[in-house]
């Protein structure tokens, strides 16, 4: 059985609506064209995640579930980890310390 396709993306600039739309289009395209797709969102450049970005991650989870896929986040700062836990986003996202570990399919961090 072929391995699940993996793609790594970064969150778009929240102040740019077209980048936001384009990000979601790309995610949908990836999810629709794959079986059990794995999306890894690289948060290593995000200092403190905004609530709008969490909404976007949850939209990704929604898309992934339709294709029996999953969404992981990698490289989150401690501040972002706290916010993900606080908003209970950790219940639907896999958390990894780095993109590499997420891509290798290591055990996710316990939230």
């Amino acid at each position: 059985m072929p391995p699940s396709p993996v793609t790594v993306m970064q969150l778009p600039d929240l102040s740019d609506p077209s980048a936001h739309r384009s990000f979601l289009r790309e995610v949908k395209k990836f999810m629709d064209s794959s079986r059990q797709p794995r999306l890894i969102v690289d948060l290593s450049t995000v200092g403190q995640i905004a609530p709008e970005s969490i909404d976007l991650l949850l939209e990704c989870v929604d898309q992934a579930e339709r294709s029996d896929g999953e969404v992981s986040v990698a490289g989150a700062s401690r501040e972002t980890e706290v916010i993900l836990e606080l908003t209970q986003a950790t219940s639907v996202l896999n958390i990894f310390p780095s993109v590499l570990e997420a891509a290798n399919g290591s055990q996710p961090q316990v939230a």
């Binding site: 403190q48 905004a50 401690r78 501040e79 980890e81 706290v82 916010i83 606080l86 908003t87 209970q88």
Partner: protein
Amino acid sequence: MEMGALVVTAGGDVTSTAPGSSLWAPAWPVLGQTVLERWIKMVRGLGVGLVSVVDRAEQQSNRVHTMIEWAREGVERILLIVLGSYAEIDLCDLVRFHYEGQHQVTRVFDQEGPLGISLLDRGCVLGHRERAIHEPHSHSSRYDFLGYVIRLSSTVSYRQLVEDALQGRCGIRPTGIQTRERVWIDQTAFVDPSVQIEAPCYIGPRARVRASVRIRGCSSIERDCDIDLGTTLDHTSILPNTYVAPGLYVRESVVDGTKLENLARGVELDLGTAGLLARIGNPQPTTSGRPVQVSPDQELPLSGAEAQQS
């Protein structure tokens, strides 16, 4: 007059964050009362007729001046408490030790060192003046205390004190009514019937805890808070006048208005703009460094600050 007590609080605005530390501020209440209020209660319990609270930020000479003035007015012994810890000292025993040993200055120590509590004789204050007060250790006797002590210097130690109090590991008893074993809820708090409470826990005056909230892990909610629908508090303290948004999972944290300190990760966040936390109501005003006169039976201000009883 037999004895006076001078309590020195942390410097500056007692509600502001202590310098060099985390979110921690000395005016945080511990299950309904600040540590300052608890110290004053202990001093009052000793029958001390003269209690003054001054701010550490005030010039030290002002403090010294107060003590010399008291000594001149005939106060025989002065109990000096520099607030930095919560310690369940038997003050009667301390006074007895000081009196029977005919010590001029007695300083209280625990295993980690001095606790910032000294008992000074009138003669010492008048005779040595500034030196005796600035350097009470120079010719002092040592009173070793082996009971419950916690040095309050960070949010972590604050949470430790809250947990110790809720678990009955120290003498602090929460204000309010004990509705069932180790669950204290103030009569003026509103707690929706669907709220799940895991003992021990504390809910303070006028707090509002809405439907489907879960409270566990020695959590405390101080006065005038609002915990919105479905939120879970786990090993967490919510400080006065704080709103917590619905559906959150707050773990190992202390929340004060819009600020949250997560103790597990050592992170401090301001979540006001994210709409997850808010400051509500009117927090009690802070005071300047000058002592304030209050009558003996007057309630101390909940936010700490200064009070003088005579």
